[in-house]
Amino acid sequence: MGKPRFLYVPFWLTYVFLYAPILVLLVMSFNAGRSPYVHEGFSLKWYGVLAQDEKILKGLVNTLIVAAGSTVLATVLGTMLAVGLARYTRSKLLDALGLMPAILPDLVLAIGLLVFYDVVKFSLGLHSVILAHALFGMAFVAAVVRTRLTHADSSLEEASRDLGAGPVTTFVRVTLPQLVPGIVAGALLAFTLSIDEFVIAFFTAAPTEPTLPIVIYSMVRFGVTPEINALASILLLVSFTVVIVAQRMTKIGEIRAQD
């Protein structure tokens, strides 16, 4: 509609730049040959190999445990953090610090956690990864819920107080239902981030309990096979699904909030 056509060119170029590598990865996962670089015909055989790889399966299970555990923790803590920040402080500094872990370099967080665990004599294992992932996941949940809270109608809470409800009842029966879409979106975000998180897991996991990204990393060191491509494709699919679901949840929440 009257918009200059040529502006589509950079748009599409960016898109190609974004998705070309992913496309290559997908195509190569269906490779009949052994090389991850030369396509020698269509085959699902690497998916079969993947399914029988004990190391990878163990890594996958570990990752799911970590993701689930850390998501639960991150969602609960993150929501509480967001509500606290939105309703009980006016401090911009606290606000910024609360959401800091989301933008802190993973490496800094990883080293910090490792040192911390060592100082408090905390044993390393899946639980230490769960805690570590909960830490940064919490920041993401808090950021999403916080945004929702600022858009939420605070008069609803006042109405609840006005009608005789105490602060706890008000939170459970009025505030929380308003935040559900934000909480769900935050949880899904924390989940996906946890699944493919490498650096922090690498530092805080026990060598005997590697998560999937760590397993993949150790495999890649000996050369990439199409098996890795197959795995990556599956992860991609999972991430995509989750992101789209999260997006839809937020949108539904927004529509509902507008009503």
Binding site: L156, E158, A159, R161, T169, Q178
Partner: protein, 568 residues
Amino acid sequence: MLKIDGVTRRFGDVTALDNVSLEIEQGEFFALLGPSGCGKTTLLRILAGFETPDAGTVTLDGDDLLSMQPNRRPINLMFQSYALFPHMTVAKNIAYGLEQEKLGKAEIRQRVGEVLETIGLAEMAGRKPSQLSGGQRQRVALARAIVKRPRLLLLDEPLSALDKKVRAGMQLELKRLQHEVGITFVVVTHDQEEAMSLADRIAVFQTGQVRQVDEPVALYERPRTPFVADFVGANNLFEGTAVPGGLEVPGLGVLPAESAEIEDPETVEPDDAASEKPSSEESSSEEPVSEESSSEEPVSEDTATDGPESDGAESEDAATDGPDSPDAESDGAESDGAESEGTDAEGAETERAESEDTATDGPESGGAESDGAESDGAESEGTDAEGAETERAESEDTATDGPESGGAESDGAETDGAETDGAESEGTDAEGAETERAESDGANAEGTDGKDAESDGAGAEDGETEDGEAEGGEAEGGEVEGGESKGRKALLAVRPEKVRLSDEMSGEGLPGTVVDVSFYGGISHIAVTVEGRDKPVLVAQQGAAKVEAGAQVRLDWDAHDAVLIREG
């Protein structure tokens, strides 16, 4: 019942509420009216418990409200946004407050059912708020609040979110409900029509202060501050100086009005005033100008009298002894033939003594004093008046220039409209006296021949006496034997529907040009530009207007329809 005492609330540098005190009675429908940012909503939130004042107390039937949590107060608030819980059904929304009271399920169901009947939304019980129209949501919000049976119900802009048609219905509904449930209602609104139509009493707020608390009619007809006049009723406002019988506006002349300070009910009722007058034909004579005069004054003949004073005492061979007015006592003022001496009048108005061979004996009333007011033929000497106004000396042989004092409004001795040909007024000294208009074309009413008269030294520094015409002369620093007086800055407020519009150019009144005519609500809204005034004067006429844009018209109004408000 509800007592708000000295409540102050500041937000940083902004004072949202400044020492506000109000008392609201049991069962009253009370409105807090003001433009946005005037503090009315802050007060409401303090009552509801969402804000805490910096100073002051609020008690409900003697109990300190401020120490109670919002959920413990026997007060409910209907929010402007309605604040219905979007995830609950209508019934659940209404039940919410009752559930907090730990009532039994059966009772809750019964009371919710009852209130749903009352608001006529029984069949909507299972719907979510998003499935309701604006008016229905508003009713649900109201139901949710009244189902709790609070002692006080606060309503924050209850009708602002509704369109006009629904609004009218809801106004009635609200009044009916309030009557039915007997709960004290306090409504906050910026819409003066809403406040007027709903409330028994209204408190007008401006910049955190209460400007006036009054019943709707009183507020409308007798605004006490310029702000109230402007905010309530879309008054036409004129700035000027108070003179007897009206307001002197530079460039426009004297506009008729009566003072808002005059509290005497009789002053409001022209009939009463008239009945107390000495019999006179022209008893309705607040007008500074008479028929024959080529007046610039926007006043008409039938202007009703204001005040119990002796206006237009006219009689032949009559000795008007002191106009009969409640406080009036006349002594000492002598206007014999052409002389009036020692007119003592404190707050008295001898507005016009027209008489042949009449001796008007100085009316004294109210408390202003003017002695030595002497008008001899065309001479008025030594009119001393504290708060006295010498309005007009007009007569055959007579110059009864009754000092007139419009009550508190005129501290100024004003010689207003002394129409005399070559009139002489001597020693009319006054601090801030105004020789408003000495017109000298023999424009006086019947049989005035003040030919020998001279008006000189009317104590007016700025006063001009040119060919007997002194216009707008404002005397400052003049001195009077026995008194000082001052011309007061004031504001005249007249409502659009009280302004008369005539297209006869020969009549009296402010000349102007119609710039716009719009018709809605069964009323024609006419904007008229008047020379010497930036803002057009608004006129409202019932039915379709007969004038069109561009027409030359004259505007006038009755003095008792206009209100003078002291500025400052």
